[in-house]
Amino acid sequence: MSETRAGHTEAEALYHRPAGLTDVQMRYCPGCTHGTAHKLIAEVLEELDIIERTVAVATVGCSVYAYEYFNTDAVQAAHGRGPAVATGIKRASPETIVFTYQGDGDLAAIGLSEVIHSAQRGEKMTVMFINNAVFGMTRGQMAPTTLVGQKTTTTPLGRDPEMSGMPMMICEMLSTNPGVAYLARETMIDPKTVRSAKRSIRKAFQTQIDGAGFSLVELISTCPAWWHKTPLEAMQWVRDEMLVQYPLGVFVDYDG
């Protein structure tokens, strides 16, 4: 084998699919950040060596097939009920690491009660909250997190707060909840934010391993298909619009 650069051999893999992912091709659209989120979670599961004792809870939305992608045991939950299902798994099998993977329709609309009460009970689980301000799988309806003025199929003139209220701020809402041990909002639009997102995801799972309480990471995500933007425009729209409404940061850190 010949030396190429910086002491690496040709046969040495510099990048590989994380062991936390299966070899199944994902069904996500070009420019959607679900793939990045999956990869980061899978890398964290591998690095923390918890793949073999993790149960992923897939919910309803574009990520409904998450049970095919994560290389872990998995349970598919009814729309919005992921945190209740995760509660049952964790209480009946406390040695298991449990996480839900939920979009904004699933978590902030139909499943708001389940996530708040799981947090309230301090369930030792981790929630991955994908916020792309729209219902994706059902073709682009308004979500609770849709921005003011954002056009969706059910807000054709743009979201009007008089008609539909203001965007729902999940992290801000949960930040006063005493059961929450780790809470952060991240995005994945450039290498810096991707690295930061991974740090928070890792911390969220570590929180559960430490038995410290409920952990949630909100990932501000893209939906080029239903934002009617190119992938690059979608990234820019996150920077210009989404992050103004949803400031990034760590809201709660039990050991920070």
Binding site: E52, R53, V55, V57, A58, V64, Y65, Y67, E68, N71, T72, D73, A74, V75, Q76, A77, A78, R81, A84, V85, A86, T87, G88, I89, K90, R91, A92, S93, E95, T96, S113, E114, H117, R121
Partner: protein, 350 residues
């Protein structure tokens, strides 16, 4: 043989579950079943179990779904409006082939109704495990002893058929006290089902609990698998009791608390020289077709006596297949039947 103790129906259910090896209970308050969660909250921790008070019946049944996915014996209990909310979860459990036990202490309805005794959830239980092609294996005890025994047995049945089992009681059975011979406690069985998730995988293949099948052929295979299990239940789990004259001229059909009323009515009718027989379905689904088929050829008519506006009567008519008339004597909305009323109506119809 252990001594008998006085116990309410609710407490007998809870004790039956713990004796059977149930260690996980999730529930939400609703009258008239509140003594079940109370008993579980008090006694589950003593045997290393976990009680969770959920924020709603939606959450209860989905916590049950999660715990069941780990292979554990798990139960919830509620009453009619709460069982309506659980329908989605029951459908998911059936679709994901997960066992659980659900107790419904039925109250008057529809809507918020009241907390009187009723049997108006017969269809909800026997026709409904929510949307889709499913139903609940349903057992209807008629005494505090039977509530205890059937709750004990229900966990094994649920595991055998990988499906929700419903115990159907009512407000009266829930609250009344009777002597009960309690079951010996047994240890929870090992969670060695080939489908159970969680725990340490230790190299085994990963497992998925799921009811999503976009390939319609695969979806139909699941439905056929469930239907085959129900057929198997029709072979093995049909239970009924018969009471009264062997040469009866009329048959009363009743389950649960209505059957208790009918037993008194049958004794009273006998004193008046009228030979009547009770057929009491214990398993409501699978339904005991055979005794109704047999007796429909020997009596002038069958009367369905129920605390609903005519639900059990449909299964009786299906079993009878037109061989004799089937009439309804019923109350609903929390109004209780009396033996005198059953006697009078039987005489009128005879």
């Amino acid at each position: 043989m252990t001594q008998r103790v006085m116990m309410t129906g609710n407490n007998a259910v809870a004790e039956g579950a713990i004796a059977s090896g149930c260690r996980y209970f999730c529930g939400y308050p609703i009258t008239p079943q509140n003594d079940i969660p109370k008993y579980m909250a008090e006694h589950l921790p003593e045997v290393g179990g976990v009680f969770v008070q959920a924020e709603s019946e939606l959450a209860s049944i989905n916590m049950v779904y999660g715990a069941a996915a780990t292979g554990a014996y798990v139960m919830t209990s509620s009453s009619s409006p709460g069982i309506s909310l659980m329908q989605e979860g029951l459908s998911y459990m059936l679709g994901s082939e997960l066992p659980c036990v659900v107790v419904n202490m039925v109250r008057g309805g529809p809507g918020l109704g009241n907390i009187g005794p009723a049997q108006s959830d017969y269809w909800l239980a026997t026709r409904g495990a929510g949307h889709g092609d499913g139903r609940c294996l349903t057992f209807a005890p008629d005494s505090v002893q039977e509530l205890h025994d059937w709750t004990f047995e229900a966990f094994g049945i649920a595991q055998k058929y990988r499906a929700p089992v419903m115990i159907l009681g009512d407000a009266l059975l829930a609250g009344m006290s009777e002597p009960v011979r309690l079951r010996e406690h047994r240890e929870p069985p090992p969670r060695d089902q080939e489908w159970a998730v969680g725990g340490l995988r230790e190299g085994r293949q990963r497992r998925i609990v799921n009811s999503l099948w976009t390939d319609v052929e695969v979806m139909e295979e699941l439905n056929q698998r469930i239907a085959a299990r129900f057929s198997q239940a029709r072979e093995n789990e049909v239970r009924w009791e018969e009471y009264g004259a062997d040469d009866a001229e009329i048959v009363l059909a009743a389950y649960g608390i209505s059957a208790r009323v009918c037993k008194t009515a049958i004794d009273d009718l006998a004193e008046d020289g009228i030979k009547a027989r009770l057929i009491r379905p214990i398993s409501l689904f699978p339904f005991p077709v055979e005794p109704f088929r047999e007796w429909s050829e020997r009596v002038s008519r069958i009367i369905s006596v129920e605390l609903s506006m005519g639900q059990l009567i449909e299964d009786v008519r299906l079993a009878v297949e037109g061989r004799c008339p089937v009439d309804l004597v019923g109350h609903s909305g929390g109004v209780m039947l009396t033996p005198d009323e059953v006697v009078c109506r039987t005489k009128e119809l005879l």
